[in-house]
Symmetry: C2
Subunit: 244 residues, 2 copies
């Protein structure tokens, strides 16, 4: 009996945003691994072992998952959102890189609804034209690289989505990002703060860059920044399909 490994996206929170592909894969699993709050979204059942682990344990978790699948397990690693967007898919391949003996394993990556797209849908269509997606955490890259990317993205007039905008451990970064954006984009640029999208705690606020405050974001928030054409219509914010 040969094992397999699937890295799946649970979407941003609501059960109605989990794809049938992921639901069916979870139903066949013997083992589920992931960060504590994501594993808590999987319904326990006989024959299924849940392996919740801490944040920042991504590489160890990926190695554990590979070992379980190599031993014949039907193993699912759960991510929030999409597994390929600042989540477990890259960690899995980092682990696989050091294990050539396991590169023949049956591995699948199953996409999910990533937070920025659920946030954009809740706000209107702020990512309706070219956009970029930047992780504002400087755990995995130096802050000057983040600033450089923000500046070039703003010069390219890309709409932007920020993941991990602000944590208690590094509250200054997002304030600096806002300062930089104000220099390049001007005060009227529309932004959306989308917290806990698709959950009962969902809170969506669209404000101008002049009105934006660092405290409007935390680690459960995705921040969307419009391009120079982004505008309001009624209670919505959207970016036109056209640019000149």
């Amino acid at each position: 009996m040969s094992g397999w490994l699937a890295v799946v996206g649970l979407g941003p929170g609501a059960g109605t945003l989990v794809t049938p592909e992921v639901t069916e894969t979870l139903a066949q699993a013997t083992d589920v691994l992931g960060y504590v709050p994501y594993v808590a979204r999987v319904t326990p059942r006989p024959g299924l072992t849940l392996h919740p682990s801490d944040n920042r344990e991504e590489l160890r978790r990926a190695r554990h998952a590979l070992d379980l699948a190599a031993a014949g397990g039907r193993v699912v690693v759960v991510s929030s959102g999409d597994p390929g967007v600042f989540a477990m898919a890259s960690a899995l391949f980092e682990a696989l890189e050091t294990r050539p003996d396991l590169q023949g394993l049956d591995i699948r990556i199953l996409p999910g609804i990533t937070a920025m797209l659920a946030a954009a849908a809740a706000a209107g269509a702020p990512l309706g034209h070219d956009f970029c997606c930047i992780n504002l955490s400087d755990n995995l890259k130096p802050w000057p690289l983040i600033e450089r990317r923000l500046r070039l993205a703003a010069e390219a007039d890309l709409a932007m989505a920020f993941y991990n905008p602000r944590s208690a451990a590094r509250p200054q970064g997002f304030a600096r990002a806002l300062d930089l954006l104000r220099q390049v984009c001007g005060p009227d640029r529309l932004m959306t703060f989308a917290r806990a999208v698709s959950t009962p705690d969902q809170r969506i606020a669209s404000v101008t860059l002049a009105e934006a405050r660092p405290e409007m974001a935390d680690m459960r928030t995705v921040v969307l920044v419009g391009n120079s054409q982004t505008r309001r219509v009624g209670r919505w914010v959207y970016t036109p399909r056209f640019a000149s």
Copy 2:
């Protein structure tokens, strides 16, 4: 009886990638509007009127949908992928902008699995770090703006996803995009051509920029370009979570 309007994403093709939220919404609809091949993915039933329409009819379709909902219909506009990514959500808000009388309508945008994330999952995790998403069609913006965005995105070392890379009507653009990328990124940069992702016609090819040929893309292809760190592991391509 008050009508409503939902703009929904059907995902890239596979039925198993349609969210339950979208499936439930379609089950309540009286009218479904969209581009011919997307409406063809909706199962007909008594009480449901299908309104397929041509490509490039987005604004007219959006106005029609608003009128049907205003008259009490339960109206669903279907997009492929996610409705907020180069799809019908922005067109709907463009139409709504000219109809202040309808801005109180019950409107919802329901996210879907967008093609670039399904393509990335099929290839590994090439979008596992900061990335951008650019529509290469110059129907809606001038070509020099596309070139400017490509150049700045490459300078920012963002991974990239290209939608609508190449059509029969404008075969030159993608060739010029490849030339530009070769100038900035060098010949070894990894790219993935993902055609008809999640359908029976799916074809995934990961090649270097030196090996890439314009004919590898058509309008059913999403093209992914890695960043400077993107690498192969076994049969996969992935971008590490780290950058320096």
